[in-house]
Subunit: 195 residues, 2 copies
């Protein structure tokens, strides 16, 4: 059963994502969120906010993308959006390390499964298709909710301004789910004061 050996080797390796911690905390601020439970939460976001997606978005593909979008962090770790004053996230070095991680991790799977999942991860990263654009917008929405709920969270920690938030977060959310960003801006005003 070499096939099941490979499938389970991948699934056991994936377990390590539960030990990768993010900058964002749980909504009650009690501890940092890990990337596995974050990915679960985003899949639920996709199910519940499906009506906010643009026409033609395939929510089932979005859910699959969100389930696997952070697996590369097993090798690379989470790179917080607001760290290094916003310069670390999405740098060429990080992108190259993540591509190597994707090769290794999806490469554990049988040849008829791994490449398809790796392609779905690459599609998410490129953020060009409607499905990936919506998935990315949800990935940006969730920490905003947590920061509002926990009284500032990473915004305080990284000293983020409303202007930086518009560039690093708002534009990406608005691209995939415009009404959600309008809604969140109104709720954030209580935190940052009037813009």
């Amino acid at each position: 059963m070499a096939r099941l050996d490979d499938q389970f080797a991948f699934l056991l390796e994936a377990d390590r994502l539960k030990q990768v911690n993010r900058a964002t905390t749980l909504t009650d601020g009690s501890r940092r969120e890990n990337s596995a439970e974050h990915s679960w939460h985003l899949a639920l976001y996709a199910m519940v906010l499906a009506d906010q997606a643009r026409p033609g978005v395939n929510i089932d593909r979005v859910i699959r993308m969100l389930i696997l979008h952070d697996l590369v962090e097993i090798d690379v770790g989470d790179v917080p959006i607001h760290s290094a004053n916003g310069a670390a996230h999405g740098s060429a070095e990080v992108a190259a390390a993540e591509a190597r991680a994707a090769d290794r991790i999806f490469g554990l799977l049988p040849a008829d499964v791994g490449p398809g999942l790796r392609a779905l991860w690459a599609e998410f990263e490129a953020a060009e298709t409607p499905d990936a654009i919506f998935a990315k917008s949800l990935d940006r929405v969730q920490p905003v909710l947590h920061n509002i709920a926990s009284g500032g969270g990473t915004w305080v920690e990284y000293n983020v301004t409303l202007e930086q938030l518009e560039t690093r977060v708002g534009q990406k959310v608005a691209r995939g789910a415009p009404a959600v960003w309008e809604y969140l801006r109104a709720r954030m005003r209580g935190f940052f004061g009037p813009a």
Copy 2:
């Protein structure tokens, strides 16, 4: 935006599942697994073990079921399969408490979203449709992998015999994914000794 208020109220409430701990540990035994990251892992199981499902199983519905199958634990907690010598899990009391939890939690959502998700949860619990049978089998497979990896895990803790494992776990796995159970039995033999 009362609609988004309700959607986000549900998504924030769901965050609490990250604080519900299961009996099973991570594969390295370092800590107990929580039900949110467990649900994420199961969605990945569905994606990777899709070829093990019986013909006609809709993997996208299975993934959605697995994402929300444990949300009721926010109110009820996790009831380990091997606790109370196998009698607590699936008792009438637990089932009634979980139904109340489902009413409350899915009731937070808009009326065109909540009932559909609650029905999907009830379908999983009933374990009668092909999709639910496959989803349940994955829910039983994952702890077996973790117990093998961590040197016994909850089998040691609850003093479980191979016979009990056949009844509580094996029959359910075999119903949805027969070849997987055969494979796991062979790997478990190293732990329990020859049957």
